[in-house]
Amino acid sequence: MTDVSLYHNDFENKWCPGCGNFGVLNAVKSALAHMDIPPEKVLLISGIGQAAKTPHFLNCNFFHGLHGRALPVATGARLANHDLPILVHMGDGDCYGEGGNHLLAAMRRNIDVTLLIHDNRVYGLTKGQASPTAEYGFSTKAQPFGALSDPLKPIPLALSQGVGFIARGYCGETDHLSRLIQKAIAYPGFSMIDILQVCVSYNPVNTYEYYNERVYLLDETKHRADDWHGAMDLSLQGEDRIPIGLIYQKQTIPFTKRIKTLEHGPLFHRSFDPAAVQAVLDDL
């Protein structure tokens, strides 16, 4: 195992003290250390939001792009070099709001990246509007009479579209989350972890207490990860008890394995063959 301090950097963290993102950050570092992926051999891609700042706070390659658009960037980067592991960090607004269409497409492509959604059920960086996962009626300055939409259900959504690796983590269970992330990185195909993340500044409902009371570790002897129906039922239950862990896993064909061109190695490493192009031109 690599020394986790290799992933530390001295760039000033900009999150609120007590923010659940710290737990996620630690879990990511620990997962990379456990998997011996050196900082320069991993790529983090993110959208915009508090969650999306994550890559700045550890040692790694990163592309911190636009609100909602991390997945297309990740798809492009994946096509350029399918040997480089990619983690995508998005907020719930980022991923399920602005970026919803790309999420659907990423599922359909089965792009081989690991998507970590820091799901604090609120828009943190813009100071506390209801996010797509906020409860119906969640009241904020922007929604003084409560959020009017039902919350998005990310795990049922992923199940419905045949995603092959679906998990839920909790920022308050860093080691557990680290293990999930390791499994997700190791999974060949699209892997997605919806992470219950506490926002101490803008979400007074889904607090540490709220989750500590409700969250329980999935018992692998009771719920088998290949049981799709069980997974669906588990994730459609109310919030009295919230299971965390690997909810569903199956084998799939990852995106880059679907593309014949990529059989010859990453695009980035291929060489240019002017003669072949000239032959095309001459043949016109």
Partner: protein, 572 residues
């Protein structure tokens, strides 16, 4: 020009106009003739009215003509719509001779397309019969026609080929010995160049530029560029991927470019609108990316299958705030091919987005290349790797530099970590909100503009010391060129100035080109004369008038000639 014939083939979508046109074009091309083929179709798959117009010559042609010499009417509507455009002495090939007693009915040559096709083996060959008749009218040599049919239908079953050979012969026999003023003696030369569409020239340019990821969302008239490119995925290190929307398309290209390969996307105005935020992302992250915007009339859906040049200011200023970009508007097939190679090169050299501005007329027209296309021997990537750095672990993606260009490394390629953000940032690539970093990075980016401006070619000039100059850009080049030639034949002192390098605006050469004349008129396919505005903004020179058109159709030389004369007679 000894030969200069315009053939128009019209009918409903789905009737196979394309086949007639392609056969005619192939025969002409193989005979060593020059061609310009324009496509006019509606936004529907079947029915309505479409046509293809071929101008055939023994010399290079750069524009469609105003008059039709031979009209091939696959239905009655075509007659109604186009008969009025017939040149004196022109003829009409069609099925019914009873063309309503109109004057034009006199010019009809009755060919029973369907009957003959059925005799040849099936109604589906109607268009082959029509092609045969048209080729015979023009005097095309029999062997050449047979050769073209053989290569066109060679891949099909033997009976298909045989039936089509029969059909073409029947078409030819049906009009044998018909008088036609434009029946000409065919040369026996090698093809003058390659025959292809603008869209394909762009795709081939991308291939020659070593583009490796091309993401797109289908949108006329851009789709064909990447659809054609997709066909090369099996033979080259290339992935062409259809995105879920245009926002994804540009962000995917940016991701691929960041990931280390050359990448592009192509769309039309509506899709470009959706790419605007991503364009800014490429700007601030200094990620090279090539974006083709194939213009059509708008706003919104507008006329999806028609042409326009209405996006000039839009693409120059698209996205919040300011950042350097290139805008090129290639005018010919050769220039399009070269522009793509140059765009990818300059995108990487300056780490900026490049917009290639074309249009439906350009993309969908077929013509003949003039120059031999050659592929760069080596692709200069302007990348750095660990070996170039004293200490890879302290690599700064956005380091300040004399030229404003910072060293660009590829993530995962070495020990250097590559850190990039769409927020304002430090030299390392970390978030920053300080005045120093903001000003430093803005200044760094803007510095690049100075060098970029030096890369710009001035406008192309035709009879630049004329009293009156016509000033245009992009694909309207050919029409203006022909108009100038016609005007000069009539002894008018008219020249022209053609812009293809648009942004950074080549101010000094534009000044040079325009300050000598007594007056100039802009010629554009938009309502407000955007090039005129751009010229005034940068040079202070004001056009004396503008010849504009915004009906979605390509301009015709005759129109430019007429409007220019009107201006000269003081009628503007």
């Amino acid at each position: 020009m000894d030969i200069d014939v315009t053939v128009t083939i019209g009918g409903a979508a789905g009737q196979g106009i394309q086949t007639v046109g392609d056969l005619l074009a192939s025969v002409c091309h193989r005979a060593g003739l020059y061609l310009m083929v324009i496509n006019d179709f509606e936004s529907r798959i079947r029915g309505g009215h479409s046509f293809m117009q071929l101008r055939i010559s023994d010399e290079p042609v750069v524009a469609a003509d105003d008059k039709i010499h031979l009209l091939v009417a696959l239905n009655r509507e075509t007659f109604d719509i186009h008969a009025g455009e017939l040149a004196e002495g022109g003829r009409i090939l069609m099925e019914e001779d009873g063309a309503g007693g109109s004057d034009e009915a006199l010019h009809v040559v009755d060919v029973k397309f369907t009957n003959l096709a059925e005799k040849a083996g099936g109604k589906i060959m109607t268009n082959t019969v029509a092609a045969g008749a048209a080729l015979e009218m023009l005097g095309a040599p029999a062997e050449l026609v047979v050769k073209v049919i053989e290569s066109h239908f060679g891949g099909k079953s033997k009976s298909v080929l045989e039936n089509n050979l029969k059909a073409i012969q029947m078409g030819r026999d049906a009009v044998a010995n018909t008088d036609f003023d434009w029946h000409f003696k065919w040369p026996d030369r090698k093809p003058a160049g390659k025959m292809l569409s603008g869209a394909r020239a762009l795709a081939l340019g991308a291939l020659a530029a070593d583009c490796r990821v091309a993401s797109f969302y289908p949108m006329s008239p851009a789709t064909e560029i990447l659809v054609y490119l997709a066909g090369f995925m099996d033979r080259f290190p290339l992935v062409v991927e259809q995105a879920e929307d245009e926002i994804a398309a540009i962000n995917m290209a940016i991701g691929a470019s960041f990931g280390g390969v050359r990448a592009m996307t192509a769309t039309s105005g509506g899709g470009f609108s959706l790419m605007v935020e991503g364009l800014g992302l490429a700007g601030i992250t200094e990620t090279p990316v090539v974006v083709i915007n194939a213009q059509r009339p708008g706003p919104a859906t507008g006329l999806p299958t028609r042409t326009a040049q209405g996006d000039l200011f839009f693409v120059i200023h698209a996205a919040q705030d300011e950042f350097p970009r290139f805008v090129f508007a290639p005018r010919t097939l050769d220039e399009a091919f070269e522009t793509m190679i140059r765009s990818f090169h300059l995108a990487e050299k300056y780490q900026v987005p490049v917009i290639v501005l074309v249009d439906q007329y350009f993309n969908d027209s077929l013509s003949i290349t003039r120059e031999k296309w050659s592929v760069p021997e080596k692709i200069e990537r302007f990348l750095v790797s660990d070996a170039d750095m004293p200490d890879p672990s302290s690599y700064k993606r956005f380091a300040y530099s004399e030229s404003g260009v910072s060293p660009r490394a590829v993530p995962g390629a070495g020990r250097a970590r590559v850190m990039v953000t769409g927020n304002d940032h430090t030299e390392e690539g970390h978030l920053s909100e300080t005045i120093a970093d903001r000003n430093g990075q803005v200044d760094k980016r803007h510095k690049k503009m100075l060098k970029m401006a030096e890369e710009m070619n001035g406008p192309d000039i035709l009879f630049g010391d004329s009293r009156l100059l016509l000033v245009t850009w992009g694909s309207t080049d050919g029409v203006v060129r022909e108009a100038v030639n016609r005007l000069r034949k009539e002894k008018h002192d008219v020249g022209a100035v053609f812009f293809s390098d648009i942004w950074p605006f080549p101010t000094a050469p534009a000044m040079d080109a325009l300050s000598g004349c007594e007056g100039f008129l802009t010629v554009e396919l938009n309502a407000s004369s955007q090039l005129g505005g751009l010229i005034r903004r940068h040079t202070g020179l004001q056009a004396d008038g503008a010849i504009v058109q915004y009906d979605g159709r390509p301009m015709k030389p005759g129109h430019v000639v007429a409007r220019t004369k009107q201006y000269m007679e003081g009628g503007q």
